[in-house]
Subunit: 376 residues, 2 copies
């Protein structure tokens, strides 16, 4: 299949540092090539890919110091438009603008929405262009969207197996990985560690926007023998950091649309202790790949539960549900169903979930069961 992937210009593909969307696009791109497809990647300079690369900005907009991305993105979209006839499928990973610019090509275009959708600012757009096919990365992500939205599928992210290699032994500390920000609740992580009397290592960057939060709320909590603040780490360090942990803490307090770090942890064999929010009940199989909690007491108790879990089963869950090969196959199926104009098979072929009953109500809004594709 001749596939165009259109990446954000904010970072290179893959990104040098932070940039979840660009990482996913990078993995998807190379895997689609590996599976025999002809892939063209529209991305910023500095990108590296096995696909045919079309550079649409001299360097990543972050490096170029460009804060308003609209001009550069619209420039890229014109390049895409001029070559649209060369592709069977045009797959966008930039929110908003493709809806307005490619709706007349809705028969061969789709957009994966990578962000949270509970901010009202963008909703008028999706209501205005209901014919544009959308892919969500979790079912819970869809909830705030207009009822007229044309959902093609929910396709959870996938990860190449070697990014976070399986670690059979694990370690003795709890891990917190990501950004220091109020919605990620590093304060909860620290409290869990102290109450469970288990060491906690925090590997996290502090953005300028969150610097005050870090200085006033988090730094004062760090002065404790069980708590170690490591700061930002790179991809290689991350794999080791996760593999050597007893469990990953994911005590979020926002509607997380997916949460890549959960599947990175599962890939390493490390179970995840996560708050029941956003995508969590769809990503974590409670009692198998982690423990889903609703309270501080539950989270503290979960440390013991997690330490008794079979790390091979955690990895097995990853391999069944969250490899990049599965993600790429899901997208190919979605592309084919769009081109054939038939309902996406995910919508009818549901697989029994091992998740708690509470999860069922989270699959409303006409969304198919998450992970059902794994049965195909």
């Amino acid at each position: 299949m001749r596939i165009a992937l259109v990446a954000p210009l904010a970072e290179a593909v893959p990104p040098k540092l932070y940039g979840g969307t660009e990482r996913v696009v990078s993995w998807l791109s190379d895997e689609l090539v590996r599976q025999g497809h002809k892939v063209t990647l529209f991305a910023s300079g500095g990108s590296r890919t096995n696909a045919n690369l079309l550079v649409c900005a001299p360097e990543s907009l972050r490096l170029a110091g460009i804060r308003d991305h609209i001009g550069s993105t619209l420039h890229m979209l014109r390049q895409v438009r001029l070559r649209a006839h060369e592709f069977d499928i045009i797959h966008f990973h930039v929110d908003l603008l493709p809806q307005a610019l490619f709706h007349d090509l809705a028969h061969k275009s789709l957009t994966t929405l990578h962000g949270r959708l509970d901010l009202v600012d963008s909703l008028p757009l999706y209501a205005a262009y209901p014919e544009m096919p959308l892919v969500s990365i979790s079912n819970s992500q869809r909830k705030p969207m207009p009822s007229c939205s044309r959902w093609l599928a929910t396709i959870p992210h996938g990860l190449p197996s070697q990014v976070c290699p399986f670690d059979r032994l694990g370690g003795d500390y709890l891990a917190f990985l990501g950004r220091i920000s109020p919605e990620k609740r590093p304060d909860r992580a620290i409290e869990i560690a102290k109450r469970a009397e288990t060491p906690l290592k925090i590997a996290a960057k502090v953005d300028n926007a969150d610097f005050e939060y870090f200085k006033t709320m988090i730094e004062p909590m760090l002065d404790h023998p069980l708590i170690e603040f490591i700061g930002e780490i790179n991809e290689v360090q991350k794999a080791e950091f996760l593999g050597n942990a007893l469990a990953l803490l994911f005590p979020i307090d926002w509607p997380e649309p997916f949460g890549l770090v959960m599947i990175e942890s599962m890939s390493a064999g490390t179970p995840v202790i996560a708050w029941r929010q956003g995508s969590v009940p769809e990503v974590i199989t409670d009692g198998v790949s982690g423990v889903i909690v609703d309270s501080m007491e539950g989270a503290v108790a979960a440390v013991k539960t997690a330490s008794a879990m079979d790390r091979r089963e955690v990895r097995a869950e990853f391999e069944t549900r969250f490899t990049v090969a599965r993600m790429a196959r899901d997208y190919i199926t979605a592309y084919q169903s769009l081109l054939a104009d038939i309902p996406f098979p995910f919508a009818v072929k549901q697989q029994p979930q091992r998740a708690p009953l509470g999860q069922v109500s989270r699959q409303g809004n006409g969304a198919p069961a998450f992970g059902a594709a794994a049965s195909g």
Copy 2:
């Protein structure tokens, strides 16, 4: 002519408070109706107009608390698109997005750029859609734009004659009107007043973004018998505030694309003392409607020059060059030249300017002489 005017959704048309673009669109809209055209205004709820109003957002985005305007604007643009066949001309006052969405209707679409264009973020867009006709509001505004830009005309803003009525007598104070911000240089205004030993009244709002600048840099300078800080004033108060002044101080330190307050002051008969920056040499006729300066010494000396100026000549300049009737006629000529696909007459029919020689070099980038339309 059947004309669509597409306004920003940020504020109602006209705006309840601040909002220069929405005010200009409001004046243009009603004047085009008065001149016998069939005008449809796309704008937010709460707008009042003599044109046919199409409400494209329930209320202004500021009132609705919507910070990211893309979704709502793209929603509006779809409404415009669906009715595009009903109009001879579609005239956009929202930057960026129409370039990408209406370039196939470039034979009947144009965009007036209302903002500064010296920020690199948007330039890739204008380079990507060079066929879209543009209108600048001063020649100096064009300088940073790609050479391929399709400039239809420079059309300076115009003002209904009654908004700031002519005041034959004027008064004895210097006026500073607008926002407190570093690029508007209220500090310079205060220093001019102190050195010229002339009272200064500052009628200005302080945005949240500039609150620290106001508290640390400006407030300490206010404690002086000659300086009076009035705060934000409404439209009615503004006319009186300008009319009662000896001169308006406009000591800017940024590439001002137009500067509505200069023509408001001229309308009241009050000369303008302005720094040679951005549009200033195009709006002010040195020695007639104000004094153009390059230094603090020049500005202090200009207070005396301005006080000796004939306020009737200042008003005459306004009536010749900056009425809303002239602006509307200019736009009709631009619309007609676009539809006829002939060069806009402004580009060939130049009128001798009373401005200093230095102004000529400011008319580069293929721009016609500013204000030349007044001869038509």
